[in-house]
Symmetry: C2
Subunit: 394 residues, 2 copies
Amino acid sequence: MLGRATEDAAASPAAALTYPFRGDHQAGIVTPAQERLHFAAFDVTTKSRGRLVALLKAWTDAAERMTRGLSAGEIGPVEGAVNLPPDDTGEAIGLPAGGLTITFGFGPGLFRDAHGKDRFGLADRQPEALRELPHFPGDNLDPARSGGDLCVQACAEDPQVAVHAIRNLARIGFGTVAVRWSQLGFGRTSTTSTDQSTPRNLFGFKDGTANLKAQETAALDSHVWVGTGDDARAGWLAGGSYLVARRINMTIEVWDRQPLGDQEGFIGRTKGTGAPLSGGDEFTEPDFHLPGADGPVISRDSHVSAVHPAHNDGVRMLRRGYNFVDGTDALGGLNAGLFFLAYLRDPRTHFIPVQLRMARIDALMEYLKVTGSALFAVPPGVRPGEYVGQSLLG
Amino acid sequence: MLGRATEDAAASPAAALTYPFRGDHQAGIVTPAQERLHFAAFDVTTKSRGRLVALLKAWTDAAERMTRGLSAGEIGPVEGAVNLPPDDTGEAIGLPAGGLTITFGFGPGLFRDAHGKDRFGLADRQPEALRELPHFPGDNLDPARSGGDLCVQACAEDPQVAVHAIRNLARIGFGTVAVRWSQLGFGRTSTTSTDQSTPRNLFGFKDGTANLKAQETAALDSHVWVGTGDDARAGWLAGGSYLVARRINMTIEVWDRQPLGDQEGFIGRTKGTGAPLSGGDEFTEPDFHLPGADGPVISRDSHVSAVHPAHNDGVRMLRRGYNFVDGTDALGGLNAGLFFLAYLRDPRTHFIPVQLRMARIDALMEYLKVTGSALFAVPPGVRPGEYVGQSLLG
C-alpha cells in the first residue's frame, strides 16, 4: 500500500514526530505547541444519536491513524476500487506525521438547541459551565465565525498535514456534520513546554512567557484539568478541560504607527527581550509597585498587569494560540491577529472574569477587535478500545 | 542592535537559506519554490510620480535587507527612540532569513486609470500584453480579490517571515499605496528545480510534474523571460516576465466523493505515482494515442491533455502556485484551492489560449471556480545601485 510517510524520508526531526492519540488526557493540550494549526467548528446536522456516536467512532479511528502518519482510512488514497471514492484524500501522501495532534471538543449546542430543547438525550449531562460566553466589551462577533456543536483542533509542524486531517474528518462527517467555520494559524504564539522558546505575536512582542507549561503538573491540575468533583452533572468531563477560542483581530496598521515607548507601555514589557518594564529578563516577575516618573513603571492599564494572576485571583490558563492573516479587510488593512486558544478548568472562574477585567482596563483593547468566539468542553483522553466522548455518550 | 537572526541559531538548513536580492532577473521566479507564500496586491493612492519612485526605492532597500535576514529598516524593531514608531514591526526578531525572496510586479493600472488616462507619464511605455485578462468561462471573480497596480510576492520557508515582509512593505507604503488584496499559501504546489520532489495539490494529486525548471535555461529564455525585441514600447521589461495570478477555488467536498477512477480520468494521471494513465512513471511523457476500452486511455478532456504543450502550440509556463485554505464558504465547505501563479513571456501566447482551451474542454473545470485574477509585468532584476522598476521609472 502506498501510505503516508512511506515515500520520502522525514525531512526533519520535527516532521517525523508522533504523539500518542490515546491517554489520560487528549493530546494537543499540553503537547509542545506545534508550529501550524487548522481548527474547525462543526454543526451537527443529524437528529440521530446513533449517527452521532457512529461519527465519533469513525473520527476516533481516523484521528488515531492520521496522528501515526497513516492515511485516514484503511484502504488509503490510491489503492481502493476505481469505482469508489478513496477513503483518504491524498494530499498528505509522502508526508510524515509532522507531530500531528487532533483534539475534540463539544459545544453547548450539542446538548440543547437554540430553544433549549434536548437534542440527543444529553441535556441533563450538560456541564454547568458550558454556556455561551457573555458578550464582552470589544466583541464584534461574526456569527459565521462563532459557536459550533463540535470542534476539532489539528496541530502539526506542517500545515498540509493539519489541513489534511481536518479535511478528512469533514469528509467522513458528511451528512452528519457540516463545517461551521474554520481557521488556519501559521505561527504558534504560545509556549506549552519549558523546552520551547517564546514566539512572537503580530504586535511583534513575545507572547506566552508566563504561560502554564506541561512540566507544571500540579498547576495543570489546579487550572487546566476538570476535577472529578467539579460538576456533579458532568462527571464524564473529569480529566478533560474547557477550550475558549477567540478570533482577535489586531489593528496592525494603527499599531505600527505607535511609538516604541507607547507599544512597550501598553504591553508592560520591552519589545526586545520581553522583560517586564520593572527590569530583569523575560522570566523575571513583574514588579507592579516599582515607581516611575508618573505612577508605577508598569502601568495599571498595561496588558501584563491586567491579566496577571496576582490581579485575577491567582487563576492561570494554558494558552495555545496562533497568529493568523486572512487576506485583507474592507479598509485595505491586513485581516490579521491572534487566534486565541486557551484550555482551562472552568470558564466561570478562569476566563470570564479575566476577560471582563481586560475589557475594562487593558490599554491594548484599543488595538483589538474580537470577531469570533466559542466555548467547548473537551472530554478526557481516549483510552484503549474507547472512542472520543465515550464517557458522555457511551 | 537586536537584529533578525541574531537570537537563535537557525532551526534547520532551509531556515538559514538566503537568496541574493539583486541579479539579472528578480529572485522568486526560478528560485526553488519555498514552502510558504504571502502575496499582496496594492493600489497606488498617490498622484505623484516622485512619491511612487521614492516608495520603490524604499521598498528596494527594505526588501534587500529582509532577504538577508535583517530588519526592514536600519534602526530595527527595538533600538529606536521611544517616541518614534520602530522601523521594523518585530515579529521576525530571532527568525533567520528563511530563504525569503521578494518579487515585485506592475499591473495595468499603474500605467492608465480605469478611464484610460495616463497616471504617471508611463502610458506610452505600457507593454502591449499588459491588459486586463479577458473574462474566461468558469471565472466568478471577486473584484476585491482581483487586479492591483503593484504586486509583491513574498516566499519563504517560514510563513511568519513571509508575512513580516509583506506587512513591513505595506507599512512603508502607508500614504502611497494601500493593500488591495492579499493571499497566504501554505503548501507549494510546484517544482521549479530538478532538485525538488513534486508536491501535491488539494485534489490529492502531484502537481507540477511537467513544470519548467530553473535548470532548463534555454526553455526559460523561450517561455519565461521577456526578450529584448519582444515589445518596442516596453524595452524596460526585457529580462523580466509576466505574472498571472489566479485564485482557483476547488469544490473539495464534491471532488472527495468522486470515485478514484473518475478522479484519475479527469487528471489523466494516477493519483499514487503521478504517472500518465498511458503508463510509465511520473516523468514518462503521456501517450495521447494509446487506445483504451472507450477511446484513448488518456481522455481528450483530461487535464493533462488539455494543457499539454503538444496541444498548445508548444508553450510552457513556469508555475509557482500554492495551496490555500481560507476558512469556510457560505455552504459549509472549505474555502480552499490553488493560488495559481505562473511566470511567462507573453500572456497572449502563453496563457490566454491555454486558459480558453482548458475552459472549453478540461473535465476538471467542473470542480474549479476562479474567484480572483490579476496580471502583472515583472521588471527585470535589480542591479547594484538600482531600485526595482528603475528601467521603467528612472
